[in-house]
């Protein structure tokens, strides 16, 4: 487990910088994209180990970005955490990790987000990274 690069995608620059701070602080390398097209391009170029993806974005929405990446054998197994205000607290509980998909509500809970990333990083609930 060497690659610690995470791509964060959000059209809101405030969310983007907050996420970047959180993740960099936790020791991850962070890539950012502010729209869907950029997200797809960066994913294919960098093959990050995980993507945090907003849903409501102009032009190409998060669902479409994910759909595109899932069609490409190179990127189809990159875990995607959808982070959106469209997702409710209760919906976060639905476990889709076998499809490499997680749902998190926005505004996000820092601990919960880092936990979710760790689950993908280690494949377990362990918290060795910190």
């Amino acid at each position: 487990m060497e690659k610690k690069e995470i791509l964060i995608v959000d059209d809101d620059i405030v969310t983007l910088s907050m996420l970047k701070t959180t993740l960099a602080g936790a020791g991850y390398e962070v890539l950012t994209a502010s729209n869907g097209l950029e997200a797809i391009r960066l994913s294919k170029e960098h093959l990050p180990f995980l993507i945090i993806l907003d849903i409501m974005m102009p032009d190409i929405d998060g669902g479409e970005v994910a759909g595109n990446l899932k069609k490409d054998p190179k990127t189809k197994d990159i875990p995607i955490i959808f982070l959106s205000s469209l997702i409710s607290e209760n919906e976060q509980k639905a476990d889709h990790r076998k499809d490499f998909v997680s749902l998190l509500a926005k505004p996000y809970n820092r601990t919960k987000l880092l936990d979710e990333i760790r689950k993908y990083y280690y494949g377990t609930d362990s918290r060795k990274l910190d």
Binding site: I55, D61, G63, K70, F82, L86, S88, A94
Partner: protein
């Protein structure tokens, strides 16, 4: 100012200003935009204005002095009387809404009532004054809304598709029966929960649904999109889903409509399977399969067809069926198309000669039928088979049969010659008899194969003489009895020689019977009438006539007249009448002459 002026005028005139005002007040009250009445402590109407009288459809006189309860709907009457008693005794009672009055014409009106207690100078309750507002119009509108809501509710509930209302975050607000059935959850389990929460979608379908959430949040309509939905029990069904943003009580909501498409998908699968099967047959068939429109323009053709005609697929799609054919074949196409239009399927196959790309011709046997699209005939599909080889083989067979025929003919000629070489006096006799017998058979209009067999039999009818000693055959003068009986053996011997040969007709039998006579006086079997073959009857006549007009060692030649006299005298006795008549006609009317001398 005017009012003051008029007041002054009224005072000046010395009239009672109070009485005037009272009257004006009465008029105002009478025609106020609300109904008003005063009841005494027993509920009897003691005052009523014109508006109320109009509202109830009675005259004021008809109302005055009657209890107000008489005008109230019987079902409400008792309740209203109780309320009135409580009111009059000073108790607090709720406001009256939706009081229903029955008008004089029987129709109902709805009214809201505002009432106050009427007291005398000492504060004692002396009655109730009430103002009523007609709310019938509003009530009816409400009823109408309720009804249309009921209708909508029913339509929603019993729709054949799953309908669900969600807030913009996808949480269920309402679902119909089909939606519950489709997802396998009860309404109560769904309320307030969302599709994401219930894990209705997973994998690619989850991601697709997330995209729909994004579009809905922006107020966009989506669909139809196909999803695989996971039911509560865990099984999956394919659905087609659309979503629309709607306003319910000024709140933006999502109306989702989902349809179970399992049946449709199954039908599509069956269709696809049958398409695949057809395609496999089309591609791999050894026979040509082609489709052309009703003008003959090719729409498709399989590999076998391309191979047969030597064209590439792109070439053939630019060609017309008729352009591959020689001019003289075009009417055949027209006929085949006509048959198709009448029957839909050709009953018998057609044969065409088609030109390949390299200019060579191929013979093709085809059978076509009309194919339909959306229930309408749109093209002709034909199956063609290369029959060039079969045609060639057929021609070869015909040729070899002809060759065989020539060979047989040659053999017969050789056999005839063999006899004639040993019997110089009868040299050419058989050929001439054959010539006459053929002409007679033709004159009698016999079938051509029968004519042919008579010709063959005639040319070798004396073959049996090969076993008769030359001395007997060649000796001039009358023959001894024993010699004569030896000579008579030749018919039987001829039969013995020929019977093993596989002729097409009864050649051997005709030879056997050519000396039989219809009266039974002939030999060797003494057959009579119809027992003797037609060929033998004709041959018998031809043999006698030819023999008589020929020179013989024991006598000179007779004239043809003498010969015809002989046969006509014995017509119907020794000789077959039809044969005799034909023979006579030949010589007298058709001027028959022996060509062979």
């Amino acid at each position: 100012m005017i009012k003051t002026g008029s007041d002054v005028t009224a005072r000046k005139k010395g009239r009672d200003p109070l009485g005037e005002n009272e009257k004006r007040y009465r008029e105002l009250w009478d025609y106020a935009p609300f109904a008003n009445h005063l009841l005494d402590t027993k509920g009897i109407v003691v005052e009523v204005n014109q508006t109320e009288a109009d509202m109830l459809g009675y005259t004021k006189a008809e109302i005055l002095g009657k209890p107000i309860f008489e005008f109230i709907l019987p079902e409400q009457r008792i309740g209203d009387q109780e309320r009135f008693q409580q009111r009059i005794s000073g108790q607090r009672v709720p406001k009256v809404e939706n009081r229903i009055f029955v008008r004089k014409d029987g129709s109902k009106i709805f009214a809201d009532i505002f009432d106050v207690l009427e007291r005398d100078g000492q504060g004692k309750i002396i009655g109730v004054r009430a103002t009523m507002v007609d709310i019938t119009g509003r009530k009816q509108a409400e009823e109408k809304t309720k009804t249309s809501e009921k209708v909508f509710r029913m339509t929603f509930e019993h729709a054949p598709d799953a309908y669900f209302l969600c807030d913009l975050k996808g949480r269920f607000f309402d679902v119909n029966r089909m939606a519950q059935e489709m997802m396998g959850y009860e309404r109560e389990e769904l309320m307030g929960k969302s599709l994401l929460e219930l894990k209705i979608f997973s994998g690619d379908h989850l991601i697709k649904f997330i995209s729909i959430l994004a579009k809905n949040a922006l107020g966009k309509t989506t669909g139809p999109d196909e999803f695989i939905l996971q039911r509560k029990e865990g099984n999956h069904i394919p659905v087609e889903m659309r979503t629309h943003q709607v306003n319910i009580n000024n709140m933006p909501m999502l109306l989702g409509i989902a349809r179970d498409i399992s049946e449709r998908q199954r039908a599509q699968e069956v269709l696809q399977l049958s398409n695949e099967r057809y395609q496999a047959l089309f591609d791999r068939s050894l026979d040509c399969v082609y489709i052309h429109d009703f003008e003959g323009n090719f729409l498709d053709a399989n590999a076998a067809a391309m191979n047969l005609l030597g064209y590439e697929k792109a070439d053939i799609l630019r060609l017309n069926f008729a352009s591959l054919m020689a001019e003289d074949q075009l009417p055949l196409v027209g006929r085949a198309l006509e048959e198709l239009k009448e029957t839909g399927t050709q009953l018998s196959s057609s044969e065409f000669r088609l030109r390949r790309k390299d200019g060579l011709y191929v013979d093709v046997e085809t059978k076509a039928s009309i194919i339909c699209r959306d229930g309408r005939p749109y093209a002709v599909q034909g199956i063609g088979r290369d029959i060039t080889e079969r045609k060639r083989a057929q021609k070869q067979l015909e040729e070899s049969l002809e060759k065989l025929g020539r060979l047989l003919n040659g053999t017969i000629q050789a056999m005839a010659l063999m006899v004639e070489k040993r019997d110089p006096y009868t040299a050419g006799h058989q050929k001439r008899v054959s010539e006459l017998a053929l002409a007679m058979a033709a004159e009698m209009a016999l079938p051509s194969d029968q004519i042919e067999e008579i010709g063959i039999a005639a040319v070798i009818h004396d073959i049996g003489k090969i076993s008769i000693p030359s001395e007997v055959l060649c000796r001039p003068g009358r023959l001894e009895d024993c010699e004569l009986s030896l000579l008579k053996e030749h018919s039987k011997i001829g039969y013995e020689i020929l019977k093993e040969i596989e002729f097409l007709g009864p050649i051997a039998q005709i030879v056997y019977q050519h000396h039989e006579r219809i009266d039974g006086s002939g030999y060797p079997q003494g057959l009579a009438g119809e027992e003797i073959l037609m060929g033998a009857r004709i041959l018998g006549v031809a043999d006698v006539v030819e023999a008589m007009v020929s020179h013989r060692p024991h006598r000179p030649a007779h004239t043809i007249e003498k010969a015809l006299e002989e046969i006509s005298q014995n017509k119907g006795i020794r000789y077959d009448p039809a044969s005799v008549e034909a023979c006579i006609r030949l010589f007298t009317e058709r001027s028959f002459k022996f060509k062979i001398i």
